[in-house]
């Protein structure tokens, strides 16, 4: 889901830089206001976790690869605004040091994976969990949160790819940037994330929630109404 340089037109990547910038600013302000120093190690570990889980490329035999992002579990454990910072730092380092995702696409990639995903995941978790304090319902909520969070992030990414042929064509009618239209990009990205990568994200999210619930339940942001 890391859009490389060249796939998005400036008409797309510039506004997405703007959108991410707005979220970065608010997130940093919230971090300054609300976060206690004792959570800093968890924030660092969350970012390290997101970096590492993204290295586990999952193959679709004979097809493409993809991976989990970890933004959903980070949003559940530390809150969605903290997840914005953790995952954005990861994506920016990936682009600059490891060439994973383009420099021009940092805004877009952060918007998709570090803004859309944590907020959707967090919201799904809150809605599905309802008032449950423990038990199966929490883990089902966590699974769906990871699964659908990644799926929706993938769909937004697919739309960004798919609108490129409409935005910019060369005089001979060839696309200038990402070449495939919405009708190709959306089903391709949706199916693989629906059936494979999203499921992995969901399982990882549920398992990690279970682990934290067992060992450090007080830490879990989404279970304490977010007040901290």
């Amino acid at each position: 889901m890391h859009i490389p340089d060249g796939y998005l037109s400036p008409q797309t990547y510039v506004p997405l830089y703007g959108a991410s910038f707005v979220f970065w600013t608010i997130a940093l302000r919230k971090l300054k206001k609300e976060m206690d120093a004792k959570y800093v190690p968890y924030l660092a570990m969350a970012a390290a976790f997101s970096f590492l889980i993204q290295m586990f490329n999952i193959p679709i035999p004979g097809g493409t690869t993809g991976h989990a992002v970890g933004a959903g579990i980070i949003a559940i454990l530390l809150g969605p605004w903290t997840a914005v910072i953790a995952v954005s730092v990861v994506l920016i380092i990936q682009a600059i040091i490891f060439g994973d995702g383009g420099i021009t696409a940092i805004g877009a990639n952060c918007f998709n994976m570090a803004v859309v995903m944590p907020f959707i995941s967090y919201w799904i978790f809150k809605v599905i969990r309802g008032n449950s304090e423990k038990g199966m319902r929490l883990y089902i909520a966590a699974f769906l949160s990871g699964w659908l969070g990644l799926l929706i992030a993938a769909l937004i990414t697919a739309v960004e790819f798919g609108i490129q042929p409409m935005i910019a064509m060369s005089p001979d009618g060839r696309p200038l940037y990402a070449p495939y239209p919405l009708s190709v990009a959306v089903p391709a990205m949706a199916l693989e994330h629906l059936l494979v990568f999203g499921i992995i994200e969901g399982v990882v999210t549920a398992m990690l929630l279970k682990y934290f619930f067992k060992h450090e339940p007080d830490l879990i942001y989404a279970l304490h109404g977010g007040a901290r």
Binding site: L28, A48, T64, T65, A95
Partner: protein
């Protein structure tokens, strides 16, 4: 550091050591790039051309450890495996340091 935090850090190191699975498995199952993340060579094969605008931007930035690989694209798998583990450890160190740096500037001590 609490003992719980120590456990989590150990878990992260284990993840870094296992990360080469992320290149070995795709190789074994003959899976290619992620959708929409093809290089210009692959695009040329897929489309028969490379989109003009894409070509101009594609090589904008030369990452120091491109694709988490210290060798080249054609290096033997073992080089890529070792590079991956090093990238994983480096990744932990860099993102961790950046987070501590940001937090130091922002977060109040308790």
């Amino acid at each position: 550091m609490t003992s719980f935090q120590k456990k989590l850090w150990i878990g992260l190191i284990i993840m870094a050591l296992l990360s080469p699975l992320g290149i070995i498995l795709p190789e074994k199952f003959k899976a290619g790039d992620a959708w929409g993340e093809w290089g210009t060579d692959t695009l040329e094969k897929l489309l028969g051309y490379v989109p003009e605008g894409l070509k101009k931007l594609a090589d904008l930035w030369k990452a120091p450890i491109a694709d988490y690989n210290l060798g080249s694209e054609n290096s033997p798998l073992i080089i890529q495996v070792v590079s991956y583990v090093i990238s994983g450890i480096l990744g932990i160190a860099i993102v961790g340091s950046v987070i501590y740096l940001i937090s130091n500037l922002l977060v109040k001590k308790s």
